[in-house]
Amino acid sequence: MFGACGVAASGWALQAAALPAPKSADRVLADASTWLHEYRFAVDVFHAGPRPVRAACLRGAVVRRGRPRPGGILSFGQRSVILVTTGGRVSLLSGSRLRVPPARLAADAGCTGALELALVRAAQTGDHISVERAWAAHQPTLALEVQRGDQGRLTVYVSPKTSRPLVAVVHAKNLTVKTRLYLTRIAAPLLHRFHLPVPGSRAR
């Protein structure tokens, strides 16, 4: 028994001494992605033009050409409803085409699925990730910044205590889209308000 404890302690010591501990930025990223994974629904307030624009994004499987694919629906209410599929493809479901904020960047910043995917890809590919103290959403936050190569830069402001995402900013070329994220449990009144389908129904 004593020997077994010795082996376990030696094994632990070997790992602790020889392997690097994860960086704090990586830890914050993993925690933030957990929040995004757990919440399928987010209400967004976009700051991309003269006035804030309210929207909501529901993550789920979207049926495209008869096959279910991971994606989501980003709705700006009566203004426009956009279908988002993984890989960044967006298509207009109803309403008029968005100019401000641009649909694709809006989906990147405002949908939990797209945000989670961006963070997870950064974690899995060893992309440059940094974290620093910041101020956002009228409170002290941690700014988690991910360099995404050609896709520009993503900054997610998270709560310093819980790593809950509060604000997402997508920078691509000359455009920047910023949204205040309200991760919310799915509720029928909210879905109706944003003209979103009840989960499980088929979106064409």
Binding site: G3, A4, C5, G6, V7, A8, A9, S10, G11, W12, L14, Q15, A16, A18, L19, P20, A21, P22, K23, D26, R27, L29, A30, S33, T34, H37, V120, A123, Q124, G126
Partner: protein, 365 residues
């Protein structure tokens, strides 16, 4: 021998690391050249041998563990191989080349130890034949990749050799290291238990303690992994969670589920047919090894290596897992008795090895 000098003797190594005979080096070289040539034909860089799981081991070596809940992440990969990768990288070798280099060198040592072990348990002829088959086995391209299998095979062969020579503390170290490198390393405790039982009359009380320690070393080392993950990720169950995200979770009904879901799985992943075929071939080889007089504890360990992963509900990668079961190669060697058959089988295996390596462009092992 006095009791004071016994522990020193028990640590005293394998005598010397067995020197690889020329024919063995020749087969190692033949197999590795075939693998490297096929890999370079896909893409002339280390890319082919450093991809799939190799990328994850490299990430652990470079950045440490990070659990991303609900998503495939690196705590699913055991820590010893990334530690070795860091050691090789520290010598000035690039991350991409470190894994394949380490694995290829380790495989030569593994073949030598496997030959030595086979010779101890069986005849010289069977040992030579089994070693040849192992060197050019179709799935043996994994031993050239940035995967821990080659290194685990070194430990799986070294531990029982040490035990057979009465070096029980060394056997314990090898068993612990094997369990820290791959879950299959845990099963080396079974043949060690068999050897300890055979030697029970001859072992002094101190050596019995060492033999007992070698049986517990694997599980104890395995416990250190969740302890470490608990320390750095604040989640001792990170390995289980990561495995679940990779689609691997042990359950009692897993074997039945694997068969029940097989038609659907084959529809989605046609490459799975490779693992299913090897699963049944491995079972036949275990039977052949049993007919040939392989000790039962070895057969039990081999069965555990081949069958237990299927309890996760899938045959995925079972062909690769079986590489760490020496009785499979003893069984194959026992099936081919004449020199002509041996040559034919070696040639077929070599051709299959090239074809299997080429499959790396499409599917993980």
């Amino acid at each position: 021998m006095s009791s004071r000098s016994e522990p020193a003797a028990a640590f005293g190594g394998l005598g010397a690391i067995p020197r690889a005979p020329r024919w063995l080096v020749g087969w190692w070289l033949t197999g590795r050249v075939a693998v490297l040539a096929a890999a370079c034909a896909i893409k002339p860089s280390v890319w082919t041998l450093d991809r799939w799981d190799g990328r994850w081991y490299r990430m652990v070596a470079q950045y440490g563990y990070l659990l991303v809940p609900g998503r495939p992440s690196d705590p699913a990969f055991f820590p010893l191989y990334p530690i070795l990768l860091r050691g090789v990288h520290a010598l000035g070798i690039g991350w991409g080349a470190a894994g394949p280099l380490l694995s290829n060198v380790a495989f030569l040592l593994a073949l030598s130890l496997f030959y030595e072990l086979s010779r101890t348990l069986f005849s010289e002829t069977l040992a030579r034949r089994a070693t040849t088959y192992l060197a050019v086995f179709p799935l043996s391209y994994v031993f050239s990749m940035a995967y821990p299998e080659a290194f685990v095979l070194v430990l799986v062969a070294a531990a029982p050799i040490a035990a057979l020579r009465g070096r029980w503390w060394l056997a314990a170290i090898c068993a612990a290291a094997a369990a820290l490198a791959r879950p299959e390393g845990l099963f080396v405790a079974l043949p060690l238990a068999g050897i300890a039982w055979q030697q029970r009359e001859r072992l002094s009380p101190a050596m019995r303690g060492a033999a007992g320690a070698s049986l517990l070393a694997g599980p104890a080392a395995l416990i250190s992994f969740p302890l470490y993950l608990g320390g750095v990720l604040h989640d001792p169950l990170a390995w289980t969670r990561a495995q679940a995200a990779w689609g691997r979770q042990f359950r009692i009904t897993g074997l039945l589920a694997a068969f029940a879901q097989l038609p659907e799985e084959l529809g989605r992943h046609p490459w799975l047919v490779r693992d299913v075929l090897f699963f049944f071939v491995y079972l036949l080889l275990i039977y052949a090894a049993w007919r040939n007089g392989t000790p039962r504890t070895w057969l039990l360990a081999a069965a555990a290596v081949v069958v237990l992963p299927v309890f996760t509900g899938s045959f995925e990668s079972d062909a690769r897992f079986g590489l760490l079961a020496p009785p499979l190669f003893w069984g194959l060697a026992a099936l081919t008795r004449s020199t002509r058959t041996e040559r034919a089988v070696s040639a077929v295996l070599l051709v299959l090895l090239v074809a299997a390596t080429a499959s790396l462009a499409y599917v993980f092992p």
